[in-house]
Symmetry: C2
Subunit: 363 residues, 2 copies
Amino acid sequence: MTMKILRTIHAEDLEDIAIGGALLGTGGGGDPYVGKLMAQEAIRKHGPVKLVDVEALAHDALVVPVCMMGAPTVMTEKLPQGDELMNAFRQLEKVLGRKIDAVLCGEAGGINSTTPFVVAAASGLPLVDGDGMGRAYPELQMETFGLHGVSATPMVLCDDKGNSLVLETVNNAWTERLARAATVEMGGSALLAFYPMSGESAKKSVVRGTLSLCLSLGQTLRETRFAHTDPVAAIAGMLGASVIFNGRVRDVDRRTVGGFARGHARLDGLEDWKGHTLKLDFQNEFLMAERDGEIVCTTPDLITLLEAESGNPVTADSLRYGLRLVALAFPCNPQWQTPEGIALVGPRYFGYDTDYTPYPFGG
Amino acid sequence: MTMKILRTIHAEDLEDIAIGGALLGTGGGGDPYVGKLMAQEAIRKHGPVKLVDVEALAHDALVVPVCMMGAPTVMTEKLPQGDELMNAFRQLEKVLGRKIDAVLCGEAGGINSTTPFVVAAASGLPLVDGDGMGRAYPELQMETFGLHGVSATPMVLCDDKGNSLVLETVNNAWTERLARAATVEMGGSALLAFYPMSGESAKKSVVRGTLSLCLSLGQTLRETRFAHTDPVAAIAGMLGASVIFNGRVRDVDRRTVGGFARGHARLDGLEDWKGHTLKLDFQNEFLMAERDGEIVCTTPDLITLLEAESGNPVTADSLRYGLRLVALAFPCNPQWQTPEGIALVGPRYFGYDTDYTPYPFGG
């Protein structure tokens, strides 16, 4: 299959993509640093990656997303080899009995903004510019692919020791349950190839352009440093985001439970927000922001934290007392705002007794 | 493949086999009643089962054991459909890319003394007279097959909802870990096909004749009822077992933990054993018997409980205050007495700070 290449991604581009991935990671999704190193090594070894628009896919093309799964806190400690992702990808190809035509990104936020580049480089296959979330989310069934009837299985899950599982489940919630139990047993992280789909399904379900967006976000942030312009304003402008808080971290409560990093952080306001507080809840990702006890933004809309000075994204993992941060909020991809999308990733799914109100409230 | 049939097993034979399976179940292995019903239904639907000697297998035959996995307490509550076992068997055949020639029993004790009859009946394939334990054991790596280098994987695990997993692991202990985590998530029980092996490997590793033994044990117990002879003496004679206690259940401590039924029971002595106590520890199966604080018998040797009056086997699940019981002990298959066998199923594996001494001590 030949298809029009949107752009060619070289090893050095991964620096920018990882920064952009951390911004879309909304505090979770794992530290993109690990995935960046894996992707850079793969590109140096096998050559650059061809990024293609989803429209370039043939209707009957076979497209497969790849991901790393686990608690971000564990994924950063337990470096994968890189080969496991290719193992999962090739094993799924064998299960499907057919050559895969293109690689897809399951989650453009966090570490998984970069992991698909490992497989695209090693396989020589094109990588679709887009993903299945437009952000990061903690569970496997939280993919826009599923909103269009794509099954997460057959799925292959591999660990760093050489163990692998092929899953076939009755629905995507069961895929998550069984894969999560295996991932916990495998030591807290695993690598997977899942949601095999046709080009036609990809065109319906992919959140488009998110890998290019990651690259542009990283480039923009880098350029503000040279130009000495306001990084936060530049990032907010690109994302269509607004500042919901500016303050210092007062306390962080973080636990690793059932394969997830769960907890909350509290910030005390500075400047315009002096005397105010912000509470951020997370399950890997930031799910809800409450300012002075009032909800400001909830999942599926995006909440992301930047270092006030540098504009660098800050993950929930790296939150610590005294950090000075700016909180941004911005609207999610419209696919998440459908009743099916809200059922899958809205506040009630995560145990909050509140309906979803699109950000900005009354906006 | 045509092979000499040892005997043909009809639906009514399953009554006896299930009783024998409960005796070899050493208190665990799940209630054979459930497996018996499944097997009887399969035989009535598809015809009788051809039991064959392991020597009748061609060296290059493909032989596959099938099992039910889970906490016995759950397996009895959560009746499988029967089809799941065939699903696992056929899916493993697909993974192996080759027709299976014969069915094997993974565990002749408890429910799994009867589950292979379901697959043998439904597939029309011969069933090997023997198993991989000569008793029941709680974990998947505890098979004599593994002592001869047979890998538990590729293995297929199915649940009653339609979910399935294909496992490929680096060793049999990892198979157990990952399959156990999945089984717990699946609701506490699952059905599987595993340890695919050649006829040559089966001849080296199978504990021979255990299904015929189950049948004979059940027949003998039934015949003592008509003849009004001593059932306990008849069973003990067939097993080469001796009576280690006779008493009433005083207390039972039983929990379902991590997919296992764990705990212990205490018996107060009667008749010859008046004034004495017996403590039995179990993890699904009875693992250790202590009389008046002294160890009398430990795994891998077998400890089994019979109702004093009827000689009917009693599982750890059904132990309750006041039951009058006889405890038997008898030696395990010699394969378990090798250093590799003891490492896999000896008392130290189960957390006891004692070496294995073959039963009877000093005998």
